[in-house]
Symmetry: C2
Subunit: 476 residues, 2 copies
Amino acid sequence: MAKNVTPRSEDYSRWYTDIILQGKLADYSPVKGAMVIRPNGYAIWELIQQNLDRMFKETGHVNAYFPLLIPESFMHKEAEHVEGFSPECAVVTIGGGQVLEEKLYIRPTSETIIWSMYKKWIMSYRDLPLLYNQWANVIRWEMRTRLFLRTSEFLWQEGHTAHATPEETEAEALKMLQVYKTFAEEYLAIPVIAGRKSDSEKFAGAVHTYSIEAMMQDRKALQAGTSHNLGQNFAKAFDVKFQDQDGQQKYVYATSWGVSTRLIGALIMAHSDDNGLVLPPRMAQRPIVIVPIWRNDPEKESVISFADSIYRELKTGWNVIFDDRDQYKPGYKFAEWELQGIPLRLEIGPKDVEKNQVVMVRRDLMEKQFISRDGIFEIVKNSLEQMQIEMLEKARQFRETNSRNFDRYDELKDFLAAEGGFAHVHWCGNPACETKFKDDSNATIRTIPFDAVSEDGACIVCGKESGRRVIVARAY
Amino acid sequence: MAKNVTPRSEDYSRWYTDIILQGKLADYSPVKGAMVIRPNGYAIWELIQQNLDRMFKETGHVNAYFPLLIPESFMHKEAEHVEGFSPECAVVTIGGGQVLEEKLYIRPTSETIIWSMYKKWIMSYRDLPLLYNQWANVIRWEMRTRLFLRTSEFLWQEGHTAHATPEETEAEALKMLQVYKTFAEEYLAIPVIAGRKSDSEKFAGAVHTYSIEAMMQDRKALQAGTSHNLGQNFAKAFDVKFQDQDGQQKYVYATSWGVSTRLIGALIMAHSDDNGLVLPPRMAQRPIVIVPIWRNDPEKESVISFADSIYRELKTGWNVIFDDRDQYKPGYKFAEWELQGIPLRLEIGPKDVEKNQVVMVRRDLMEKQFISRDGIFEIVKNSLEQMQIEMLEKARQFRETNSRNFDRYDELKDFLAAEGGFAHVHWCGNPACETKFKDDSNATIRTIPFDAVSEDGACIVCGKESGRRVIVARAY
């Protein structure tokens, strides 16, 4: 395997693309703005789906499927929503050889089509809550593609719930954000900050938008998941009322929440290095590769036999790759599996057979460890668990190192210009001050963190009083 | 639950729709030709996906994802393919507010976009085979919707494999048909006949099309899955060559194979009755419902306590519904769960508590059985397994009863006019004779079965010689 990954220090953006193309995670397609997710990339998406889907079901949600195509008139029923999404839609005007009477929009998100159905299904408080989720593809037109992070078509899940009370609705929106946070940290090994979006950053049609924000290795922020309290906006747009226990007709309350294949981009950027992808063990369908090494036939026989007994033992616990290909040298194989991010490599040569040992290399550390063949199952199990924990911790330390409080605007500007990371600053709540971050530094308020401590301060732009700090950063 | 299922004998087509709407499996959407798959229906699709996906992986396949939108020019590269699919496509002409230079077709199937990528990825025999599958939505324009069976948008999987030799390609096409047959029989409890399609019924662009054919309760045939040997047609259309071991440049060979949400329609029509859906246990995410029955508070206390101990025992093995809702009468609950096809109902009243017993009703038999509370886990397990087997057997007997050999054309016509079932007839292989079935009886050659015995005979239309029988029937 000839490795041609551009070093991060040289060109971060090319490094990211190299990791994806050479790790065979995805590829550009002949359709502008669209990508192909190759098996190595899709395997990550499958693990995201399986684990999140289980967590959704554990919190009482069920899956459904709604149509891809949305009548143009539906898009116009919620004023903010159409303004936000209509310009970036792909539009079907011909169907079955005929020009259509009404244009159909490929869903950029499904609130409108789903709430048109909820009107049919919700009559009484007994029908509530509806806790539905959908796994689907959506299109938001993009010409400047960035693999996984910004593509016209992407895969995602969108939860759409309906409730009788505002309290229950708010609780649902926050609960699902917490599910995302748990998933990001425990599975992707990406530490995230949960909080509320400022009004200018919220979803088109929402009352409140909550998000989880992660820091990438170039110290930029990446929004990794959002959860919206939609209030009664969509119920009013689609006239969805229910008869409450008091006999009154009331509008239904809504949430929606989603994560997408963008998470794969976050995963790559959070952990990978100049040798290629680094996958946390829980995100690897094949977490272990065994590479037997030999120079001649007698060596081959004993090495393969030794390695095979280890293979058979380990495959009772994991999907293990046994790379005994004849036509490639060990160094080539190492490089190939490093590019693809396989968490643990076990090298076995004639010396190792003699000593009843194995050389183990953790993908995140890239250091050789000699381990005993006896008890290897437990050693491998512990190493994978340890690696999962340490990758999260490493990413957390990186974020902490690159987060700072600022109280002077000129210092903040310098920090952002140098792409320094997350700036914690006081902000008065005025959109005009928020706009200044964007205008001066191409930065935004990423989140108003839930866990920000109460602290008297002065808005870093205008000096008006503020009760706690928000996070300002450049973002993907 | 007020049941309003139209009896099969009265109106089969309305019966089918009633089952779906009242069982909350699916609903009509505001977009013509498109349906909404509700949670009860999607739960079946999830089980189809999980089991087939496991079987695909066990046979060496991996998943990938290709773009939804296909450039118009791609559709035109394979002559038969464009002729077959182009007229039924939905076409995007506007993207991001601009009229597009080239129209984009929403995929009706993905051969063209996938083979344009295979051209990038396949260089050498070392790159082969590629054994890829995709889970996706597709659109084939339809105005006359039939829920699950015929909708503009549907969900499916499409396998697309690339091979170096014609022998390996043919073996792959047949292997995947066998996977479908195993799945249909062991999971859906639908017996199917595997065989080859006649040329007039084959896929647009295929060399051979194989299918599995099932009989519905109205004795019509339903094609439940197809597998195509595409030869080198798409490789030639997209100029995909590989360097073989002999150093020669050769065109790559291809298969494709798919099943869709249509299988849910087949499942409904194969097993359901006038009380609603009947699900084979392996297709039920929630295979058991416990309904405690009481008249007053003291009764309630003892019944609930008894029922709850059973619930806790059974839920270690299955996802069990415990229906202790106060506001509904037992009869209402029975009807509701019958409509939704829950395989086993356990009724528990005060008398049952006294006798340490439970009333068990299998959904397919609708007969009360008294079973002992002791050892209930094993009894339930055995009953579910027995039900799975007996449902397949019942469907097989129904098919056999409604299948007959015919050697006289007038008798065949009468049989088909009476919607009698599967007619096994001799056919000479001439498309003109095949057309006559269609013209006279609105019937087609469903399949040339693999397991048809060699038998000298005369074509039922023209009298020319024939070596084995084919199956003629009306079909969905």
